[in-house]
Symmetry: C2
Subunit: 228 residues, 2 copies
């Protein structure tokens, strides 16, 4: 139906959409590392296929049909990642590149089977939600660790970067999904954070790291207070 290349555009449109579901030609161009004129012409093509809502000089939006197609690709990606980790023994840092390729495999059966063998997982190994068979994903908007306050007790819910480098960095510090941490202090100079978890009483995380960790706040010091 859609070519591998079209699928990659759809996925990007889905992933980089703002709150209005829109993406600019420039953003798409940069994320995909494809020049703007190429993006423009692909948008025209996807528009004639009814996957995208395109008007010259206006930001781009997926149609319902396009959103569904994109969601299904992302479903395949995330199911694959989960399958590789849970059933084949891969580390979470080594599955993204494989899933990038497998997400284009045309075989509903294969992914349905993964889903079944995994007992219908809700999240992938990086905490990202797995869309349902209709491409629908219900999104929980976790805050970043960097937005938390001293004294907060949090659970690592997801990471917003799946690069092997970043995940290996977390591995070295024994930071995994569901690890519970307490925010000990924030260094005002560079906004680096000191957190404690497991048997580690004070691990330092730079802002670059804490921005990439999405957390669920379990408890907070100023529970019932507004800022003064």
């Amino acid at each position: 139906m859609n070519s591998l290349i079209e699928e990659n555009y759809l996925k990007a449109l889905f992933s980089y959409a703002n709150d209005q579901g829109e993406v600019s030609v420039k953003d798409l161009s940069e994320k995909l590392d494809i020049k703007m004129p190429t993006v423009t012409s692909m948008m025209k093509k996807l528009s004639t296929k009814g996957l995208v809502q395109y008007t010259s000089y206006k930001p781009i939006k997926l149609t319902a049909k396009g959103r569904k197609a994109a969601g299904i690709i992302i479903r395949k990606h995330r199911l694959t990642e989960m399958y590789l980790v849970e059933k084949m023994g891969f580390g979470w840092e080594n599955v993204h590149e494989i899933a990038e390729q497998m997400e284009h495999v045309k075989s509903p059966d294969l992914f349905d089977r993964m889903d079944e063998l995994l007992d219908h997982p809700k999240h992938d190994p990086h905490g990202s939600p797995i869309p349902d068979k209709n491409g629908k994903v219900d999104w929980i908007n976790y805050p970043k660790l960097s937005e938390c306050k001293v004294g907060d007790r949090v659970r690592l819910a997801a990471v917003v970067n799946s690069s092997a480098d970043f995940l290996s960095f977390l591995n070295k510090r024994e930071l995994q999904l569901d690890t519970e941490m307490e925010l000990v202090s924030v260094e005002p100079f560079d906004n680096s954070m000191i957190v404690s978890y497991h048997d580690k009483p004070n691990e330092t995380l730079s802002l670059l790291v804490s921005e990439k960790l999405l957390v669920e706040v379990i408890s907070s010091l100023d529970s019932n207070q507004q800022s003064p």
Copy 2:
């Protein structure tokens, strides 16, 4: 390295090579359903890449490098088929199409892991040998059932066709790999065969079927005799 399209040519060159390892432009063209001029130009391209030995008007041969590349693709295909059957519960009639796509996935790790989890299988679900990591395959030249003689006791070693239709046909008759059969008689009119196996004393197989079944002969009536 090699594009998906190049990989499909390599695989075809490997699979349809005659005893001298050669394939004609015409054969390749027919098997791949690609017109001859296109094949010619791809052969020139693969030749400059050192994968194929090409001289105008001569049959085509893979180089050692090309043979290795092809063998590795076929290894990935067959490991995938075996993995889908053994670890994911697919029937042997439903794995070929998926493997056709997965064989192009670039990730030695994925296939090494399949190999390990499967405990280094020698054959795929259709009885075809799995090449080693260098693309080398040691080929056992089983006879076709159609070449056997009345009274022969044989084991089904492999099928030479992986179409869902053909394999479903065998499923219906409870004919599986390793099933032991005895050749009861051959109908001279159409060369159809009557065989017995399991609790089935006389199942009829047309020539079209018996030609697609490769067998290991376990015992023969005229064991130590030449034809008169």
